[in-house]
Each structure stands twice: as C-alpha cells, then as structure tokens.
Symmetry: C2
C-alpha cells in the first residue's frame, strides 16, 4: 500500500489531554509536527505543550467533526472514547490506531474472545449477566475468579475477587446491572508487558519485554528488559506481531501478559502508549511516544533497540514533592506531567533510571 | 549559598524563540515546568511548544520588564541581547546565565582578554580601530590573521581573512568603522567543543568533549566523544571548570577550542546551549537542554555521562526535505525545529545517531 507520509509542520490531532497526550505532543514536536489537543479540561497537561487545544466534551460530535477536519491525522491517548465519537472522527479523517482496535479493547468480553480466536492463551472467561450465569460460571472455575465489568474498568476499579465465601448477591448489587465477565484465577509468576509498534506499511517492531510490579493495582515499577527465557521471549514477539497484524494496527499497542508455568497468558490490551512503556523513553533509541507518532504520521518505524537496561518508577500523589530523594541517584531522568494537584494515587510523573 | 529550587508548575522565561528556545521549552516540560517565550516573531519554533509567548521587540524595555516580572526565572537562547534589555531583566528577576557572561561573550576583545587573564591559551589578538592599528598588528602576526568585528559575528559573518596581498583599505571600508580585533592564525588539527554545566550551588559537570566538523563556517557534524589524549581531556575539563567558576556561571556554557601541537586553544565561548551539544540529547543520560533548565531552576545537575558514542548531523536548508535518506540508518533520532521555510543554510533540524 502507498502510505501518506506527513510532512514537518503538519498537524497531529490528539484526543485526550493527560500525561500520555502530553508526552505524545512533546514527541510530535521533536519531529517538527504541530499538535492540536482535544479535551474537556482547561490547562490540561497536554495543552500546556501543544500548539492548540479544542476544549470540548468527548460527546460533542460537532466539535469533534470540526477538530478532525482541522488536523492531518487523529490519534488518542485513552480507550474510553464513546463509539459515536469515534464514528464521527473516522468519517472526517484517518484515525490511528484503527477504530476496531479501540472497540475490541473497550469490552473485556470482545477483547478476550478476539485474542482467544487467534490461538493466544487468555484466562478462562465467562459472560455474566445475572446471578444464574455467575453461579454457572463459578461451578466451572472452582467457585473462584475475578468478576470484572466489561467496560470502563482500570487500575483495579470495577473488579471483585470472588471466593466460595463471597456474598454474590451483594456483589451483583454493587455491579448494578453492568455487563460483566468472570475470569478464572491465574497462577502467575510475574507480569510482563509487550510494547509493539506497527507502521502503515505493515512493518512490526517490538520493544524488549518489560517486567512490571504493581502496588494497590497501580503500576509501581517497570524493568527493561524482563527476565524471560529464550522460548518465552520468542512467544512474546509472536503474540505481539500476531495481535498487531490481526487488528491491522497502526501505532503503539500495549499487551499485558502473565508469565505462568504454561507460558505467557494475555491479560488485556491497550490501543495506545502505555505507562509500562515510559521506560523506553530513556532506555531505547526511539521511545514509545516518538514511535507512535512516526507510525500514525506514515513514517517508517524508528529503532526500538535498547541501548541500556533501565528501571522506571511511577511518582504517585505526594511522592512528587520528594524529588530531592532522586537527586543523588546516578543515571536518572525525571519526567513530570504539569499537574497542579497531587491527589492520592494520581500519576504525577515518573523517573527512569539507567542500570549499568 | 542557599539555592531557591523551583517547583514543578513554576514558569521558566526564555528570551528568544528559535530552535534552542524550542528544545529548552521541551526540556522544561519534561521537568513539569511551564514555559513563557519572549520573542518578536509570531509562531516561532519555541512558541509552538510553550504555554505562553510575549511577542515584542528585544529593545522594548516595558514589555521585557513585564515579562521578567511574570516568570520565576529568566534565561536566554542567544547572546546578542542589548545591554539595556539585560539590565531591565536583571532588575526584575534572576537572569541565568549571569549578565556578566553575556557581556563578556558579546565582545571578542573583552572575551579574549578575560579568558587570557585566567591563564587559558587563546589565539594572539589585537584591538583594531583603524588602518594604523591594523598595520601595526599585522607587523606582529607576520602579515596574516583574521579580522573580526568585536560584536555580532556568527557563522563566519563579520570576518575577513587577511594575507600580505589583501587590500586593507577595501576591507576596512567593508568593516565600516565597527570595532574589531585581529586574531593570529592558528595551526590546528581539529575543533573540539566543551559543554559544561554549573549549578547555583557551584557544582560543575562537564560532558565528554565533542569533535566538530564545519562546512562553509556552519557546523556540519559533531562526534561524542572527541578523540583526545588523556592530557588534553584533563586540560579540557580544567578549562571548562575554570571558565564556569570565574564567571560565577549558572547553566550550560559552551567553549569552542582548537586542538594544536601546544594543547587546546580557546576560540570563543557561548553563554548558552550550543549546536555542538545537541548530540548530548541522545548520547547522555541528561542532555544539555535539561541540564540547563535544571541549573537555572536551582535543581542539582543531572548525570552528563554518555551511555553511547554518537554522531550529530545538522540538517540545513532543503536537506530537511530528504528525511527518507535517514529512514534505514540504525539507531538514529531526527529532531526538527518547526520552521516553515527551508532557506539555504538555515538550520532546520538535526539527526543524532548512536554508534555501536
């Protein structure tokens, strides 16, 4: 296929104004592009560094259409964009990653079904609509599992751990009729994420797998590269390439996996740059943000090779007030997001440290 | 001394809107600062990525005073700022690097005198005011030398190579009464620049020396590290520390030197981030732009250690239209400046390539 390569000075449109949008905007600028942010918030982290911002609701179809019409390509930094809004954007302009990837990742049942159909291992899953379907599913999973809303869950929100002693009625009350799935428990050793890029011409480039440690369901630290056997590393690359190709993907795709005795099991995918990929900014020649912009701009992919081993640590809430703690650490780079208020658990920044 | 450490969200004020201002603004953003640009041009490279711009002349003292009053620290990306303007800025706020460094670097006679007084080797130089002083100077330099205006020269402009056959009257006509110096010719092997940082507490950190190749008086390629003997490398570090300390410097100081049979000879200094330092963006943990912002913001210096060898190539004029030439080069990163018009010789961007 012929790809339309954007020229320096053309405009990248980004839906969403958070830290991912901010770092995408900074990467756009390094490549000479102009950046236009669309988000409802005034003075968002991304707007602070972008040439232009449209402040409007994600449901405002007129504003979205006008925005899409005024930029040269549209991308997004979060996956919970309403379907009507995406339809409006795609009617006006190229949206990358493609709408199908967004739709699949927005719904845990569709996501798991899609991944499993490619022959890629996922945790056993069951469609849950009521107490009967939940009881039937639990009979197959030994009375245990994790109940998750099909849509809009993140960082542990919208999830209930179920054991034989759980009060199912109370949990379903909390669920309040939202469509859900029950996932079988996975006995895993470690969590590893795969960050993969695919360009408009179909080339795929994987970063080295990244090992993640969570605290309170929020990413705490990432290490690149993850310690994986040669077999698992090959499986990781195959999974990443298979998913990116099946979705006819353009941009950065993040894939969260569990390392188990039976190999890698995919937990979920995110059709965007990802917190665990922040480490690529300082460990690799071309980090995930630049890589994403290159791909959606119709450029060939950059070199994802790591020049250094590295560790990333998220700065949550008031941890950002203690930057001096990092002053004497060698080979560190601090990245902050321009957020005014350090609410508990809020992602305020991260620190990448190269490891000798 | 106690240093006032700026907090994330505070505002860096930058005088000048070119590519150096742009890359300083991007580095500010990575550290969570807000950036306010002051420059006369609309839609400058720096403004495109900054939160705010004041569009006004560099001689507009009212606008400068208001600007300085509205930001938390002032820095600059070029050295030809009028003395009155700097005086106005320093009356309102901290200006880093200090005004003295700017004054010294603005005048080749003051600059050479200052450097020589520190016991650092420079090319022989003579104050030139008229034909008599020029003739007297040439008698001491074997009838040869380079006549340079004391102020405002760059990239070979304002310079005349003089040999015994030169028409001195014609050259002095071109000089048109501008104060000038005659510099003795230097027989040098290579050109090496030293990029050094000093923080507000007086700590000094040098980058590895960088070897430069010019074409038509404009920087073409830089390589990090320069090939220097242990003795010359030690001399380089001593020169850099001595100059930064003598100027009570805060920020990045660039020092251009010649490698000669007698050791390093300083050609000139620039009180700012420097084109030859662009290579540190991708070869070192903390590049020159972030390092400058850290220093002027009262932060401790970042780690200047190189994780890779690297080469930088400037993209001049329409070379920027041939980006595809770099597509297949491994370990490269392209940096573009958001300039609309690719005039001949204009610095449009640069490419950093890591060398295995």
């Amino acid at each position: 296929m012929t790809t339309n390569r954007l020229k320096p000075g053309q405009t990248i449109g980004i839906i969403g104004g958070g830290q991912l949008g901010r770092m995408l905007a900074l990467a756009s600028a390094e490549l000479g592009f102009t950046c236009h942010i669309y988000c409802p918030e005034e003075n968002s982290p991304a707007s602070q560094v972008a040439h232009q911002t449209t402040c409007a609701a994600y449901e405002d179809l007129d504003a979205l259409a006008q925005f899409a019409d005024s930029v040269d390509v549209v991308t997004y930094e979060f996956e919970n964009i309403p379907a009507d809004s995406i339809a409006t954007l795609t009617a006006q302009n190229t949206v990358s990653p493609p709408a199908r990837a967004l739709a699949v990742s927005q719904d845990r049942l569709d996501e798991k079904t899609f991944i499993a159909a490619l022959g890629i291992a996922v945790a056993g899953f069951h469609d849950i609509t009521d107490l009967d379907s939940l009881t039937a599913a639990l009979a197959q999973t030994g009375g245990q599992g994790i109940l998750k809303t099909r849509r809009f869950g993140y960082d542990g929100k919208g999830q209930w751990r179920i054991s034989p002693s759980s009060d199912l009625t109370a949990i379903l009350d909390e669920l309040d009729g939202q469509p859900a799935i029950l996932e079988a428990l996975i006995n895993f050793e470690r969590e590893v994420s795969l960050i993969v890029a695919r360009d408009a011409a179909g080339h795929v480039a994987s970063y080295a797998p990244i090992e993640n440690v969570h605290k309170n369901h929020i990413l705490h630290q990432s290490t690149l590269p993850a310690q994986l056997s040669t077999d698992l590393a090959a499986q990781a690359e195959q999974i990443a390439e298979s998913l990116a190709t099946a979705l006819d993907y353009v941009g950065i795709l993040a894939i969260e996996t569990f390392v188990t005795a039976d190999g890698l099991i995919v937990n979920e995918i995110a059709p965007r740059v990802h917190n665990s990929g922040h480490i690529t900014q300082d460990a690799c020649t071309c980090g995930q943000f630049e890589q994403h912009i290159r791909a959606i701009a119709g450029w060939p992919l950059g070199d994802p090779t790591a020049h250094s081993k590295a560790m990333m640590t998220n700065l949550l809430g008031d941890e950002v007030d203690d930057l001096a703690a990092w002053d004497s650490a060698p080979a560190t780079r601090v990245h902050l997001y321009g957020k005014a208020e350090a609410k508990p658990g809020r992602k305020m920044g991260h620190v990448n440290q190269l490891i000798k």
